[in-house]
Amino acid sequence: MKRRQMTAKEFVIRYIMYLVLIVMCVVLAIANDKFLTADNLLSIVKQISIQSIVAIGMTMIIITGNIDLSVGSIVAFSSVSAAMMMNAGIPVVPAMILTILIGGVLGLISGGVTAKLKLHSFLVTLALMQTIRGLAQTMTGGYPISGFDSSFGKIASGTIGPIPYLVIYMVIFYAVFIYIMKYTAFGRSVYAIGGNEESARLSGIHVEWIKTIVFVISSMLCGVAGLLLTAKVRSGDPTCANGWEMDTIAGAIIGGTNMMGGEGKLGGTIIGLLFVGILSNGMVLIGVNAYMQSVIKGLVIFLAVILNSIQKRSKV
């Protein structure tokens, strides 16, 4: 294979996000000696771990050219459902399985309606976001539910050596889904649908089916995230995961996923989430006030999006 040598400019453009990430880390390390400690770094990763599982589904959905605004609501609904089931005496393992299945059913609704009726997923999931969040709050009267078997908490708080379970889950989920997206017919179909839906359909790809499955997978991952969140805070909270749809979309976009579909990598999404995570962590360490943190985070995302568009345009 002939491969052209990359010029310095091309290299910078291609790896700009990584370079910015490294620069940010160096600056933070100099500014605060607590930043570059193993404890702190692990806590950053742990911080983003649950959200990053939701971001897997979001990235896949965006790659098909769709969007899912209901992810945060599904996480909350799962969290509440899991807590209620366990309080009702259902043993932990069946309750977990049921929770994930409930997530799947919700995805079947949003994905099925989007694919079959050819509606815009933005509208479908906007409606579901309200409905599902409302349901979670109705079921609990708006209050968090606790009091279930505390042993359940171990799935989120346990560690192997210094590594928290949560980080291990994240790594496993990413490894599996990176593989699926890259090396399976299903993964390829997801990209093909986002690249050109009509062309994919005429090539014999079951577009409606694949789209629905992607939503189902995403919602089941939300179910998993809901379980982990419930275990972590030891309560089923109908207000949890608020705004996660935006956080995960931001992660995917910063990581280079194309909002128009067809392009994107899960590896990029994790970088995107780390980026935001490190930034937040660093600002807390340096002592930036909370309002200013939001401003800076917003501006950095803005900048990242611009950098990404430059990156895409200069592609040959």
Partner: protein, 501 residues
């Protein structure tokens, strides 16, 4: 008179490592119709895009009326009087004709301290331009309601709304019926009388003498020569385009009596009614007809891409229920679509991903796609179809039209189909690639594949098909053996209302 209006000198354009255009030259005189021809990847499109400001011009010089130009955008080029009408329209379907014509420079009038769009004036100005073109389209009509020929007219009107000096027309007749072509020629001649120069890009070499004054030929990104049209006979043009003489192919000789495909009573609303046809092993069946006869609609329904009201499909005697393209693929049917950009390819992806798209399930080895196999297969087709590209990892967007078409063909050949439907397989591609595609079709027929080819070019359909079915207004009006058939006969059937025997 040696009144040069547009002069292009030594323009070179590179994309990444690939040179698309090298030292290109072009000289167009005032009031001249100048044909621009060349094979696949000859650099015509690149040249046009540079002249109209769609691509930047880094090297070389462009002069308009002796003044050097530095064009920054297509909008700037339009303002200078250089406009292009492409095969793909730049019109917006949901707004009116007049608004389309004045898009980006809507006329305004004062409304106190504010400004207001002056719709009255826009409509009356648009009407003036349309009158100039002797068109009966009204300015208030929505563009979406117009036919292809009418849309092309609006594109020209849009160009005329500036002080037009040079009009570039990219395959203006490719999607027009014979009638519309005549009126298009009339318009072009009128523009010429007004002193407007026209650069006329076309693959239809036969029509050039009727309309053009001079012809410039490009090959492989290089300028070859400019000839007076009287000196440029078709063989001479082709020789310069391909660099060697082309032999024309003959009809496939491999027809058998074995029925491969039997279609009965196919109907879908007003689109087509009661279509019956049979296809034999090794046969090339041509479907002729005028635009809007329902040919594409029929094959799309046959392939499961659109719904049908009723009809039976038998493949090798067995009834097959086709509800989706996936069903059709499973039954051994392939479909090379009419619109390679919208329906055939994923432009942002590379060659092997596009080729592999139809055989993803076959490429799965337990839990993993055999990506090496995919690249190998793609490399094979790059070889056999002589697809001009860097390698199988190149993005298909960067290939020329003819090569993109070959990728679409490759992605269906790789499914090893028994039946291949090809909808306008040579539209918008050059003579050399056309001939390659004809010989390929013959080879496929020789291997026992049955081919259904839709074509609007009568000479092509007569050259390639064993049998020809003619559609008119959604019905079959003729089923003809391709013996002693003429274009006139086909046109006669294509304009009939009922089948006669």
């Amino acid at each position: 008179m040696n009144d040069t209006i547009l002069k292009v000198c030594d323009v070179t354009k590179k994309f990444g490592g690939i040179t698309a255009l090298e030292n290109a030259c072009l000289e167009v005189k005032k009031g001249e119709i100048h044909a621009l021809v060349g094979a696949n990847g000859a650099g015509k499109s690149t040249l046009i895009k540079i002249v109209t400001g769609a691509y930047s011009n880094e090297e070389g010089k462009i002069f308009l009326e002796g003044k050097e130009l530095h064009i920054k955008s297509t909008f700037a080029a339009r303002a200078l009087g250089i406009s292009a009408v492409y095969q793909e329209f730049s019109l917006i379907n949901t707004v009116s004709v007049a608004e389309n014509i004045y898009m980006g420079k809507l006329l305004k009038k004062k409304l106190g301290p504010l400004q207001k769009v002056d719709w009255k004036k826009i409509n009356s100005e648009a009407q003036k331009i349309l009158d100039l073109l002797e068109s009966d389209i009204t300015p208030e009509t929505l563009v979406g309601e117009l036919s292809v020929a009418q849309k092309q007219m609006i594109e020209i009107a849009k160009a005329l709304s500036n002080d037009l000096k040079v009009l570039i027309m990219d395959e203006p007749t490719a999607s027009l019926s014979d009638n519309d072509i005549e009126s298009m020629f009339g318009i072009i001649r009128d523009l010429k009388k007004k002193g407007i120069s026209i650069i006329y890009v076309s693959h239809r070499l036969e029509e050039l003498p009727a309309i053009c004054d001079r012809i410039s030929i490009y090959r492989d990104g290089r300028y070859i020569k400019t000839l007076d049209i009287k000196e440029a006979s078709k063989p001479i043009i082709i020789e310069n385009m391909v660099g060697k003489n082309m032999t024309s192919t003959k009809q496939s000789a491999s027809v058998t009596n074995q029925v491969l495909l039997d279609v009965k009573h196919f109907s879908s609303g007003k689109k087509f009614q009661n279509i019956n046809l049979t296809l034999h092993k090794g046969e090339i069946l041509g479907i002729a007809g005028l635009a809007g006869a329902g040919r594409t609609e029929f094959v799309r329904a046959l392939f499961g891409a659109d719904r049908k009201d009723g009809g039976i499909v038998l493949v090798e005697g067995k009834e097959i229920h086709i509800k989706s393209p996936a069903d059709a693929k499973r039954a051994g049917i392939g479909f090379v679509t009419e619109d390679r950009k919208e329906e055939g390819l994923i432009l942002n992806m590379n060659l092997h991903t596009n080729v592999g798209m139809t055989i993803l399930n076959r490429l799965m080895r337990r839990f993993r796609l055999d990506l090496r196999k995919e690249e190998e297969l793609t490399d094979e087709y790059i070889q056999t179809l002589s697809i001009k590209c860097r390698d199988s990892r190149q993005t298909v967007k960067d290939l020329s039209g003819g090569n993109q078409q070959k990728v679409v063909i490759a992605k269906w050949l790789v499914t090893e189909p028994k039946i291949l439907i090809m909808d306008e397989p040579t539209r918008g591609i050059d003579v050399a690639s056309k001939n390659q595609i004809y010989s390929l079709m013959n080879e496929l027929a020789a291997q026992g594949i049955g081919i259904i080819m839709i074509s609007s070019e009568l000479p092509e359909i007569l050259q390639v098909s064993n049998r020809i079915i003619v559609f008119a207004s959604g019905k079959v009006t003729g089923k003809l053996e391709n013996k002693d058939l003429t274009q006139e006969t086909l046109l006669d059937y294509a304009t009939r209302l009922e089948e006669r025997t």
